[in-house]
Symmetry: C2
Subunit: 168 residues, 2 copies
DNA sequence: CGCATTTATTTTAAGTATAAAGTATTGCTA
DNA sequence: TAGCAATACTTTATACTTAAAATAAATGCG
């Protein structure tokens, strides 16, 4: 039963509309996933090839780059939206490689402060520059005057999803 | 739109525009990643809680569900955009659990045909129904009349990125 | 036919991810 | 002030992920 798009709302939502909306939602999700996977895969590949570095490691450095005085270790999982346990070995290796330091707080011996070293900052800057240019290269084909519009839509989407997750 | 397509670094003249565009591109990428991570994480969590199942396993079943006569194993990595090596243990376990079968082709003994079992099909239908309703729930807060528009934008983005990756 | 190449798939090594349990340490409170 | 709950972080178990090497079978070509 084909329903005209502009048919008045006879019932709040009839079966056909619901079905169509469901399919539209599924399509959106699949497209979102495809875009992210595509870009993420390419960035990962280049990080590996050019710098023998991984994105999670870069992400940690990116957070620390904004915090000259360092960051409480527990802040990282929150900001990067990953689990705490995941971060331990990543931070371990960044310390091992000399890019960051991990110092126990004198006030609370459970807490550790992580801070980028001079070496780490230098390395990060170099990688960040490439990262930026890769992004520019990959997104160059998308009309510049619609970048903000799309970002705005995604912001709304994110808000809606977050709200939906809050409720229960 | 007055943006040089791929002029390397920066000429003083349009330096500001380029910088602004670069920031817009970065914002878009971060938002895209945030949306996907948010939704993916929630779906993963629910798959785990409700069905003790993972998304990659579900994705394999979803592909096979459309192919009543089964699929050449090598098709899966292409369709799911994952590496072949990754798939081996996933398929192994699905076979082990009785959801799919893996039969060597009689024509070419390198090739294997994977096919969903009746049991697998039953299980998949049940999970797919929940998956759909979760998606509806998570995306309910986003205006229905803008779903297709956003999907279209993402399609364009995907095309642009794919083109950019093709060239070199 | 014999051998190199290509194709399909698996194995391996290194890393990322989560959940859940474990270890200190601190703070609260009865 | 003794004990217990909360907090910060690590460890463990399991699974996904890729890249690259390995295996195995088919194909092509001289």
């Amino acid at each position: 039963m084909a329903v005209a798009k502009e048919s008045p709302p006879v019932s709040p939502k009839n079966g056909v509309d619901q079905e169509a909306e469901y399919r539209a939602q599924t399509r959106l999700w699949l497209r979102l996933l495809a875009c992210t996977t595509l870009i993420e895969g390419e960035l990962r590949r280049r990080f590996r090839e050019e710098f023998d570095f991984t994105m999670p490691r870069f992400d940690v450095l990116a957070q620390l780059d904004r915090e000259p005085s360092g960051l409480v270790l527990g802040e990282l999982p929150k900001r990067l939206m990953v689990s705490a346990g995941n971060l331990t070995p990543i931070v371990d290796r960044l310390v091992e490689d000399g890019y960051i330091t991990r110092t126990p707080s004198t006030l609370d011996r459970r807490v550790q402060i992580v801070c980028m070293t001079v070496e780490g900052r230098k390395t990060f800057r170099r990688m960040a520059k490439s990262h930026g240019s890769w992004l520019v290269e990959l997104l160059a084909g998308f009309p510049a005057d619609r970048l903000d519009g799309l970002t705005g839509e995604l912001d709304e989407l994110k808000g809606a999803v977050r709200d939906a997750m809050q409720k229960p």
